[in-house]
């Protein structure tokens, strides 16, 4: 069952709440429309089992579809490197958000501000606080939570849905991006 309530029950947001990602096409459309997306990946991505792989593996795949750069937070980079992915930028999650919130920041490659930011693999509450910061202070960045717990402070978030359903959606996004 999809729950459009914060996964951590008490973490209510207020009047402005994330739109639910009702179907994979929503994400695909956002990526396609975005000029400069970025992906912020926390350490849990390497722990969260997603079928016989880890969430991190799917995120790498997703990133590769449109060359979306990755910011590796926590100790995520170690797990990226062990997967042969060496282009990530290492930043603490709050620092990444602080930069995103600066509309003058020219992005990881210095070529212009990011307009779309995906979040995944962060502890729920840390992602939550960061998304709140961006909701309030980064109106120029659209935020998307890719976890399977509803993140009300995001621009878009999956509802709190079972792992299988969520994985299917992620796979569909990747499939559609590749296709």
């Amino acid at each position: 069952m999809a729950i459009l309530e914060p996964w951590q029950i008490a973490e209510i947001s207020g009047p402005r709440k994330a739109a639910a990602i009702s179907k994979p096409e929503v994400v695909v459309a956002m990526i396609k429309r975005s000029k400069r997306p970025v992906m912020i990946i926390g350490h849990l991505a390497a722990e969260i089992a997603a079928g016989d792989r880890k969430l991190l593996d799917y995120l790498i795949d997703l990133g590769n579809t449109k060359n979306i750069p990755i910011i590796a937070t926590g100790h995520t980079n170690r797990n990226l490197v062990s997967r042969g992915y060496t282009k990530a930028t290492i930043l603490p999650a709050v620092e990444a958000a602080h930069r995103l919130a600066d509309s003058g920041w020219q992005g990881l490659d210095g070529k212009g501000p990011h307009d779309l930011a995906f979040f995944a693999g962060l502890p729920y509450y840390l992602e939550w606080t960061i998304l709140s910061g961006l909701k309030h202070f980064a109106p120029h960045v659209r935020t998307v939570s890719l976890g399977n717990g509803y993140q009300p402070h995001a621009g878009y978030s999956f509802a709190s849905i079972p792992t299988e359903q969520w994985l299917e959606s992620l796979k569909a996004v990747i499939g559609q991006m590749e296709g």
Partner: protein, 773 residues
């Protein structure tokens, strides 16, 4: 009659002829301590007002801009609201979101500072009543002549006796009242002004800590700046359950002292277990190593539900508000001793002790409020001895946890209530299937907040199931902690001042704060050991100091047995309880004063500037949770010492983050030439939440760098940064070129590799700022 109106009046006369007679050389000094006891010239800001250091704060805030992460979209603190503050909306009072968040931070840090200052006031008042206001302050004899570096720095006075602390407290209370006022609807509304006030509250907090700790060290004869302070026992496994057991919880040591003294008086020492949780426990062991520490504050429910304590004595701060409720379940009696935490209990302070004891013994009363620590201590001992025999069956037979767990419907409410999103549902179902391994793992990472249980619609006592399943782990909790040594000696500062400022000791890392860890307490110990082994100076206090002890190496030794308590490379220095954090900040200040001979007195900005630019110190507050922790952190921050908090620290609503990528932020004026020179992003942040232990360690190593590192010092610091980065993050740090000013900064052992990185980055040698005098 001569009647004086002003506290800070000081009048004298050489000779007076009056009706009363002739008086010569007469002098009365009141309030502000006469300057005669201190030669040092008074700096620009003794007893600074809330705006006196605004300029300094704005310098810091210009470089480390607040990043706000609102708890929710609205403001709800007056009845004109709630107000929607999304977008650029203003509330009914005109406020916008950034200011509102900083206002909430200010309220929190004011609560924190008020808590410490009020604690200090209570201690000082009580100790004066017992030892006299003339009782000398002595925190370390001749080897520690700078007895109160923070008080000297902030207030510009040099306290010598307990009574001298009174005026310091007056000042702190006045300032806290003023700061709190600014949070009133329609008062301050600029976020940077709020932040400056937050810093002010933090600074006041540090002074409050110092007042509290030097008072109790001096009067209660704690270890006085002793590197080799004795070891004490820690852990639930160390308690002899055959004896009557008293539990003391909180932060004010006075009831514990009274218990220990009464036992001594009655010849009962060794016949009653005095066990403690939180800082009261730490301070009890500073007073007497006959006391035992159970664990940090997160141990409260676990320990009470074990049924072990016969009597629970609460004082102030960090006490679960359901202690009475939990105590009643196990038939344990509660004695509350603080005006600040009355627990709804009847005030029995004025009743005869016998009557109170009788009511508690018979269970006629489940608890009593006794606002006299001496009396409370005696009653606690008498009641514990009297109820213990009847409570010998108190360690409840383990419940049939598998049966309980079978009620679970996997609704996941427990997990959704868990602050750490721990996999409780699966573990509970495993318990039902008699597999205790998963719940054991949850136990290791749990902070005992008991929200899982509150959320269970099937009323499964989730937390009790967990602790019962992990009972064997509890039995093994037998550790040693070095008791709080108090201050750092002046002579130690003289020895390490040079190596620290030059960078040869790569850093001072302080592990402090609450036990609200993201992933259990083990990580604190691991971080501490990592840096101690790398020959940083590891300093600790409070719950963190306890968590560090709950760890053993292969030989079964705890960190305090492995590492000395010296304030020197490789030491693990437990200064004591939360209020002892003052000595950590004090040590940084003393480096400026004793080693670098800067004038301390009322000279905050210069000293903070020195610490900021020279002293490679970093705080790590892995479980930061409380308003007090926020206040302490802001005290360090105003001194220019960066603080790393755990991921839950993001819920403090704002970070103070530097922008290494903005070169223009890191210019500083060369003290020699006055020229603007690039000093690099050091320290890069002032207040930052780390996501994982690994990230925190890399950050800590990095944040130890300072503009004034010598080449050799920078090379040593970079060695640790690079090494840790490589080990835990898998690569050489990309930002390395920002920290290499010239080739002399490059660690020789890594020269080739680093040169390659520098070359790739197009690095060029820069003019480093000149060494400051």
């Amino acid at each position: 009659m001569i009647s004086l109106d002003l506290k800070d009046l000081n009048f004298r006369f050489k000779e007076l002829e009056s009706e009363l007679g002739r008086i010569k050389e007469f002098e009365v000094s009141v309030g502000r301590i006469a300057p005669q006891n201190w030669e040092e010239k008074v700096g620009p800001t003794p007893f600074p007002s809330m705006t006196a250091l605004r300029g300094w704060d704005r310098k810091l805030l210009g470089r480390y801009r607040p990043f706000y992460m609102p708890y929710c979209d609205v403001c709800c603190i007056c009845t004109a609201g709630k107000c929607d503050l999304t977008g650029d909306r203003r509330g009914a009072c005109g406020i916008q979101m950034a200011a509102q968040q900083s206002r909430m931070v200010l309220i929190a840090t004011c609560i924190g500072a008020a808590t410490h200052v009020s604690h200090a006031r209570e201690l000082v008042t009580h100790l004066i009543s017992r030892y006299g206001s003339g009782h000398p302050l002595d925190v370390g004899g001749l080897s520690t002549e700078v007895e109160a570096p923070l008080t000297r720095l902030v207030c510009g006075l040099k306290p010598e006796k307990l009574g001298d602390l009174d005026e310091v407290l007056d000042y702190l209370e006045k300032e806290i009242t003023g700061l709190l006022a600014t949070a009133h609807t329609g008062q301050e509304g600029d976020c940077l002004d709020f932040e400056s006030k937050v810093f002010h509250s933090g600074m006041l907090d540090l002074v409050g800590l110092e007042v509290a700790d030097i008072a109790q060290i001096s009067a209660l004869e704690y270890p006085k700046a002793e590197p080799d302070a004795p070891l004490a026992e820690l852990g639930m496994g160390t308690i002899d359950q055959s004896m009557p057991v008293i539990l003391v919880v909180g932060h004010n040591v006075l009831p514990s002292v009274s218990i220990i003294e009464y036992l001594k008086e009655q010849g009962l020492t060794g016949q009653v277990e005095v066990t403690g949780i939180c800082c009261t426990a730490i301070d009890a062991t500073r007073y007497s190593q006959s006391a035992k520490i159970v664990g940090p504050l997160s141990w409260q429910i676990k320990y009470i539900r074990s049924g072990i304590p016969d009597v629970i004595v609460t004082d102030e701060q960090c006490i679960r508000t359901d202690v009475l409720f939990e105590a009643e379940k196990i038939g344990s009696r509660v004695i509350a001793t603080s005006e600040k935490n009355c627990m709804g209990l009847p005030d029995r302070t004025g009743d005869p002790a016998d009557a109170i004891v009788a009511d508690l013994e018979t269970g006629k009363a489940a608890g009593a409020l006794v606002l006299d620590p001496e009396k409370a201590g005696k009653i606690a001992v008498r009641v514990a001895r009297s109820v213990a025999p009847a409570r010998r069956n108190k360690v409840s037979t383990p419940p049939n946890i598998a049966d309980m767990a079978r009620a679970c419907t996997d609704c996941k409410q427990c997990r959704r209530a868990c602050p750490n999103d721990l996999p409780v549902p699966g573990a509970i179902r495993a318990v039902a299937a008699r597999d205790l391994a998963p719940i054991g793992e949850v136990y290791d990472r749990c902070n005992g907040c008991v929200r899982c249980e509150q959320a269970c619609p099937k009323k499964i006592p989730v937390y009790s199931v967990m602790t019962a399943a992990a009972a064997h782990k509890t039995r093994d909790e037998k550790f040693k902690i070095r008791v709080g040594r108090g201050a750092i000696q002046d002579v130690e500062i003289r020895q390490v001042g040079g190596p620290i400022v030059l960078g040869e000791i790569p850093g001072v890392i302080a592990f402090a704060g609450c036990a609200n860890y993201p992933n259990g307490g083990k990580e604190v110990a691991e971080m501490c050991l990592e840096f101690a082994r790398r020959r940083f100076i590891a300093v600790t206090s409070g719950c963190a100091a306890m968590s560090i002890s709950m760890y053993r190496d292969e030989e079964g030794k705890t960190p305090y047995e492995q590492h000395p308590g010296d304030f020197d490379a490789g030491g693990i220095v437990n200064v004591g309880s939360c209020v002892s954090n003052a000595h950590i900040a004090g040590a940084a200040v003393k480096i400026a004063s004793i080693f670098a001979r800067r004038s301390l007195r009322g000279n905050f900005e210069e000293i903070a500037d020195y610490v900021y630019n020279r002293v490679g110190a970093v705080g790590v507050v892995w479980g930061a949770m409380s308003q007090k922790a926020a206040a302490i952190a802001m005290g360090f921050v105003r001194l220019g010492i960066p603080v790393i908090v755990g991921p839950h620290g993001s819920k403090y609503r704002r970070m103070l983050l530097g922008r290494a990528d903005r070169e223009e932020d890191w210019y500083t004026s060369d003290p020699g030439t006055g020229e603007q020179v690039y000093a690099g992003p050091v320290p890069e942040h002032l207040f930052i939440a780390a996501e994982t232990k690994e990230e925190a360690m890399v950050l800590a190593a990095k944040l130890c760098m300072r503009p004034n590192d010598t080449g050799k010092g920078r090379a040593i610091k970079l060695t640790h940064y690079i090494d840790l980065h490589r080990r835990v993050l898998g690569t050489i740090p990309e930002d390395l070129p920002l920290f290499v000013r010239s080739m002399s900064d490059v660690p020789i052992t890594m020269k080739e590799e680093i040169s390659r990185v520098l070359q790739q980055a197009g690095w060029q040698e820069r003019k480093a700022p000149g060494q400051r005098p």
